[in-house]
């Protein structure tokens, strides 16, 4: 009995340690935002300040980088989500070896290091089309693997789709276009929204791929990395804190929606 209690105690302690390990560094980074020291740190504590938020607000280059990130993110949504959707629709209707082969090809960008995705895109577009690094190549390079994430999301939802619905509509004289617009697309709508959100987030935080194809354009993530290496002030922490707060909000909303959807499906399965 005591052995079991000891084991439970140790497991609990390990778990607490693990979650501290996950969150403490982020907490320290956040705390350093409010330290009036010129270098971001919590030791020594030089007094509380909100001045670094103001410094961030007045940083014109930060706003420009944010604009670039938003444009790239929108471009990636517009390119990667339709590509992923088309790929999932095709895979859903294929069988056996053609499906396995295509699937392997489609997920291969996810198993390729990001720097290589960037490099191959950079070389290819310069050699074939004379296009050099910039916004366009950033969107293209990011989409090449983000489309695979979108494809996986769509495939997961299509797996639970009842094809009888489409067949019934076709039998009743609907055209293929009507079936797609009225049945398939509405069914996929939640997946389209989550794919767009995921695509945007992946694009926004991407560094390894973007670095090679960005040309002279600077996304927000690239800007943060540059600031850390040259001219680091706690304004970078202020920016990190804002981004983390937004991310946590997004993650909680996304999870809540996902769980509600899962409960609704479980409910309809019972009924």
């Amino acid at each position: 009995m005591t052995a079991a209690r000891l084991r439970r105690l140790l497991t609990g302690a390990y778990l607490v340690l693990f979650f501290c390990y996950l969150f403490l560094p982020l907490g320290i980074m956040a705390a350093a935002t409010f330290n009036s020291s010129r270098f971001p740190t919590v030791t020594p504590w030089m007094g509380f300040t909100l001045g670094w938020f103001q410094a961030l607000w007045e940083d014109q280059r930060m706003w420009a980088a944010l604009g670039t990130s938003l444009i790239v993110g929108a471009g990636v949504i517009a390119l990667a989500v339709p590509l992923g959707l088309a790929a999932a629709l095709l895979l859903d209707r294929l069988h056996s070896r053609a499906k396995t082969f295509l699937y392997a090809l489609m997920v291969s960008p996810l198993l390729t290091p990001g720097v290589i995705v960037g490099i191959s895109t950079l070389v290819f577009w310069r050699e074939w089309f004379g296009v050099s690094g910039g916004l366009f190549l950033t969107v293209v390079a990011q989409s090449s693997f983000i489309a695979a994430y979108a494809m996986l999301l769509f495939s997961a939802r299509l797996e639970r789709f009842d094809p009888v619905l489409e067949e019934a509509a076709l039998d009743l004289g609907a055209s293929h276009g009507q079936v797609f617009r009225r049945i398939t697309l509405p069914y996929l709508m939640p997946a389209i929204l989550s794919a767009a959100l995921l695509a945007f987030l992946q694009s926004f935080e991407n560094y390894n791929t973007t670095l090679f194809v960005r040309g002279l354009d600077t996304t927000l993530t690239v800007y943060i990395a540059t600031k850390v290496r040259t001219g680091l002030t706690p304004a970078v922490n202020a920016l990190s804190l804002v981004l983390i707060a937004l991310t946590i909000l997004g993650a909680v909303v996304y999870e809540a929606l996902r769980r509600r959807e899962a409960r609704r499906q479980a409910g309809s399965a019972v009924a």
Binding site: A87, P113, I116, V123, L152
Partner: protein, 294 residues
């Protein structure tokens, strides 16, 4: 194929095929082939491209062998990434097991959410948080000094140690989720039965949980190794001139050395390393590609 046509009609089928072909050809396959082809060409000024000197060569690959510094960095990238992978596996296994098999059901959603949230946070920001901790005037030095473990502040940044510690932190969540998913599908009754039959915990893990978790272990190791070996952000932020990573060498060939052919060869070597690791892990754990990309 006929089923695709029957289901979506000619117009939609055409659009679907066109989109998939564009994605796979222009964004995935051709760029890779182009990069590989490029790596077997000498670096020439534009006027000489296509001329008599523009021949097939393996010179770019021999550079890695002749340049001992680059070779040492390449080998270090391999062992350091393997170390990062092994460490994350060891740290995550107990957590994944607890969450999947032991944790009370009503507390699980919150615990999972606590894992999901850091997973969503920008990799670069998670790296940056360790930059602050490891800094010369940072909290780690302050604590160690305060405890009397060290007499003067240490330089944790700019060395391999800092890079490895940072990588474990940044990529740990790519290990914990595959492990959790694999262990979660294990029927608790199997563990109960083993205990009733008198097996101790080490034996239950060795004979039941670990074999069942194999696909998850494979996926976690593949993702972590690939991300670590291909990481640019972590060594760029936490490392220094003495702890360069192979990706940084590649970057320098492109944007400082101006020798794209050489950079492409190094990039292909990195790709081969990662593919080799993936195939090795798939063989070792006997899993297929469909198990990996979920």
């Amino acid at each position: 194929m006929t089923e695709v046509l029957r289901r979506y009609g000619p117009v939609l089928t055409g659009m679907i095929l066109l989109a998939v072909a564009l994605w796979l050809a222009l964004l995935v396959v051709l760029p890779q082939l182009m990069m590989i082809g490029f790596s077997f060409r000498p670096s020439l000024p534009p006027s000489k491209i296509g001329g008599p000197e523009d021949v097939f060569t393996v010179k770019n690959y021999l550079t890695l062998w002749t340049n001992r510094i680059h070779l040492a960095i390449f080998l270090k990238t391999i062992w350091a990434s393997a170390l990062v992978t092994a460490t994350t596996l060891a740290v995550c296994y107990p957590v994944a097991f607890y969450l999947a098999q032991v944790a009370p059901k009503r507390r699980l959603p919150l615990l999972i959410l606590m894992l999901v949230v850091p997973f969503w946070i920008n990799e670069l920001l998670r790296t940056f948080s360790w930059y602050i901790i490891l800094a010369f005037n940072g909290p780690l030095n302050a604590i160690l000094l305060g405890l009397g473990i060290i007499d003067e502040p240490q330089r944790f940044l700019g060395g391999d140690g800092g890079v490895i510690v940072g990588m474990v932190y940044v990529y740990i969540l790519f290990m914990v989720f595959p492990l959790y998913n694999a262990i979660e599908s294990l029927d608790r009754n199997q563990i109960e039965a083993a205990r009733d039959l008198g097996a101790g915990w080490p034996r239950i893990h060795r004979r039941i949980v670990l074999p069942h978790a194999k696909p998850g272990i494979a996926v976690g190791c593949i993702m972590t190794f690939m991300l670590a070996a291909g990481s640019y952000a972590v060594p760029a932020l936490l490392g220094g001139p003495n702890s360069r990573w192979f990706t940084e060498i590649i970057y320098n060939w492109f944007f400082e050395g101006g020798n794209w052919n050489q950079g492409a060869a190094y990039a292909f070597i990195l790709l081969v390393l990662c593919i080799g690791f993936i195939l090795g892990a798939m063989r070792l754990f006997r899993v297929g590609l469909a198990d990996i990309a979920k």
